[in-house]
């Protein structure tokens, strides 16, 4: 090769295409599940069973996208024998996809449980759920952004956002417990809402997992240090194992 | 292939059209045929002439060859003349030539190829080795007459004949040696050196065995040229009418007795031929033709031996 300039494009055109295809599919999956979350939470707030049903039906799209991503990462590894940051990027895609798919699952479960509620939720609960939902979706957008821009800093921010989410979840948990203790007729609905809340909190954890994968992909070393976790009873626990 | 009407193809397009390509190919093929025919014709003429010559020689001389011809000395009568002294002389002279030319030529070739530093002195020597191959053979004869025969007092002997012919074919042997050594694959040499071999070990155990076929071939080609040389030997005084044989080599009392044959007068086959051809009697001409046939046979035999050696040794050292 007479040209010695270090370009950012691969000599092999198909390599660039494989990586771009994977990246696009991750973005699509991310948008898909963000959408599901958005609509599941609107359905919850409005008590709209029909909307919830639509969310449940649309989840298969996320599953299909994840399968596609799996197939494409296998193909990219076979064809290109990637090394260094290409290898990390392709492995990251294969590890991020399942997290995204799980977030979609939690959105679907939220919608399913919404259909089992006997009555729409009150304004206070609506507000809290709305806050959690918005926070998760913004975290998801941020990590997706970090993934696209290969920005480890952005990933870090999403990581720390989760702590706040946990705190709000803890508060919501207490509120629901108190409501159920006060009025035993509300236990049925209350348990469903507890599960929904837990699901959202888990969705937030998956977003932080994605953030860790992005950090690993960009820097080559794992995100160090314990992530502070606040559990339902408000106690801060030791680092995740 | 597609066919398109000529007008539809732009004039600067690649001529992927049937007609143009076919015409171009046809032209090339015709040129091929012309070349092949011309070459064949030239070959036929050259070989035709050669074979005609040989056939002529054979028809004249082949019948004359019999046991008496080979064992009689020359005489004034054609029928009684034989070439005993001639072919004995040729054999002995060839022996001396080989013994002198081979070691000198191979050693010189090896030195020039492997040991000599790459400077202008070496370059000068290399140029002159090639030049020596073109020096007229009679000039070698003059040199030998002045230096060997008179200067060193060696007389008109087999030894001097051998020396002058050795000088004559020395460039051939040197060049053949150099070519043979040069054709050794680099990897083989490097492999030998990589094992920690000294230069002489590489030379003796690896380079020489590999170069042997080439060197031998070159030597035999040189000898088959020398066998036919008359001019230098006439110059140093080889006689044409020798009615005696040199003493049998290596018999007689040592040390002088072993080598007294070297100092003997002698004749060789080309000179004998020349002598007979110069006589008016037709019988002698036939004798000359017969000697020519024998000379050709000896030359062809030597070349055959060269080919055989090359074949056998190449089989053992396939590259």
């Amino acid at each position: 090769m007479t040209d010695n300039t270090m370009t950012d494009r691969h000599t092999l055109h198909s390599f660039d295409e494989d990586i771009k295809a994977l990246s696009d599919e991750i973005i699509n999956l991310s948008e898909q599940v963000a959408n599901e979350l958005q609509q599941a939470l609107s359905a919850l707030r409005a008590g709209d069973h029909a909307a919830a049903e639509r969310v449940v039906e649309s989840d298969h799209l996320a599953d299909a996208l994840q399968d596609k991503i799996n197939a494409h990462t296998t193909r990219a590894l076979t064809r290109q024998q990637p090394l260094a940051r290409d290898l990390r990027a392709i492995l990251a895609a294969s590890r991020i996809a399942p997290h995204l798919e799980r977030i979609g699952d939690y959105a679907k479960n939220t919608a399913k449980r919404t259909q089992r509620l006997s009555q729409p939720i009150d304004a206070e609960l609506a507000g809290r759920f709305h806050w959690m939902g918005t926070r998760i979706i913004s975290m998801l957008h941020r990590v997706t952004d970090a993934y696209v821009k290969q920005d480890a800093q952005l990933a870090n921010v999403a990581w720390t956002d989760d702590a706040e989410l946990d705190a709000v979840y803890a508060g919501l948990f207490k509120y629901l417990l108190q409501a159920m203790c006060a009025d035993s007729r509300r236990v049925a609905d209350g348990s469903q809402l507890l599960f929904i809340a837990k699901g959202l909190e888990r969705a937030g954890d998956h977003v932080t997992d994605i953030a860790e994968e992005v950090h690993l992909m960009v820097t080559g070393s794992p995100l160090s240090g314990p992530r502070p976790k606040v559990d339902e009873m408000g106690t801060t626990t030791s680092p995740r194992i | 292939m597609m066919t398109t009407a000529p007008g539809l193809v732009p004039s600067n397009a690649v001529p992927f059209v049937n007609g143009d390509v076919r015409r171009a190919i046809g032209r090339s093929q015709r040129i091929d045929i012309v070349f092949a025919a011309g070459g064949l014709f030239a070959l036929i003429i050259a070989f035709g002439l050669l074979f005609t010559l040989l056939a002529d020689l054979a028809t004249d001389g082949l019948g004359r060859i019999d046991y008496d011809f080979l064992t009689d000395f020359p005489s004034r009568r054609p029928a009684g003349a034989g070439m005993l002294s001639a072919w004995v002389g040729t054999s002995l002279v060839m022996l001396v030539t080989a013994v002198l030319a081979m070691p000198l030529g191979v050693a010189a070739g090896l030195y020039l190829e492997e040991y000599a530093p790459k400077n202008w002195v070496t370059a000068l020597i290399e140029i002159n080795v090639s030049n020596l191959a073109g020096v007229p053979s009679i000039v070698y004869g003059l040199l030998a007459l002045g230096f060997f025969v008179y200067g060193l007092g060696l007389g008109q002997s087999i030894l001097v004949a051998g020396m002058v012919l050795a000088l004559l074919i020395l460039p051939v042997v040197i060049v053949a040696t150099r070519e043979a050594v040069r054709s050794i694959p680099r990897e083989m040499k490097e492999g030998a050196y990589a094992l920690g071999a000294e230069e002489w070990q590489v030379m003796w155990h690896y380079i020489l065995p590999f170069a042997r076929p080439g060197i031998l071939t070159g030597a035999i080609i040189g000898l088959s040229r020398a066998i036919g040389e008359a001019a230098p030997l006439i110059t140093i005084g080889a006689l044409a009418f020798i009615a005696f044989l040199p003493p049998v080599p290596f018999t007689g009392d040592p040390p002088a007795g072993l080598f007294d044959w070297l100092m003997s007068d002698f004749t060789v086959m080309p000179i004998q031929m020349f002598n007979w051809i110069s006589r008016p009697q037709a019988g002698f001409h036939i004798n000359a033709a017969a000697t020519g046939v024998l000379l050709m046979a000896m030359t062809l035999a030597m070349n055959a031996v060269a080919i055989l050696i090359r074949f056998r040794l190449r089989r053992h050292s396939r590259t």
Partner: protein, 288 residues
Amino acid sequence: MQMQNTVMQKPVAVGREMMNDTSIKPENRPVAGPDTALRAEVRDLSFWYGGTQALKSVNLPIADKKITAVIGPSGCGKSTLLRCFNRMHDLYPGNRYAGAITLFPEGDNIVGARVDPVLMRLRVGMVFQKPNPFSRSIYENVAAGLYVRGVRKRAVVDEVVETALRKAALWDEVKDRLHGSAYDLSGGQQQRLCIARALAPNPEILLLDEPTSALDPIATAKIEELLAQLCEGVTIVIVTHNMQQATRISAFTAYMLMGEMVEYGDTDIVFTSPSDKRTEDYITGRFG
């Protein structure tokens, strides 16, 4: 350049010394790990083919009993560097070395001006890119290195030949035809024969110049397996075009570019998170 020809360090913990050597710029200081025993060390090695400089102040530790791979694009100087280890360049006129390749524990400088190249070649074996067996029998090929050293006793040579062929994973295939021609072997077998030949005289370092680039994948795999086992007994330096091969068999990798040593380190790290962008561009196929 000072020549070290007095008995010096033991081959232990020399990595640390190279790390702390202030005469080498920090960014050029290749780190083999402070406790890695070194068999040899390339220090500020420069090399000229006539007037062209082919190696520019190369620094490279060679870890003892490990495989060090040297990779880089064509013309980067990796073969040139390799051939400095056994003074192959001395065979051709007009070449010049500067700097040192120090062999431990004696501390001899391989490229020192007053060092006999033949002596160095007795300690360093080489396997070439194209298998180059001699036109002799298999037995004589392997024994060639012994004959050169004047070892001729039949019993000794027999034993060494068998050991070397076993080490090269070739014994079972040729034990019944030791006196057959080496050219009757397949390409992969010939290369293993060349490895046996290089191993027979028990060298301290074995150099391999793209040993499998002329072989099919199966023969390549056999040789890679063989090398992995060999390095328990001999230090190996291998030049390769095949990066996957470097990842598979080497413990340390060095990347060279245009006569310079760009990066050196643990193979895993060099290929997953190289520190120099030039290295990453090369191994990910963004070069050129």
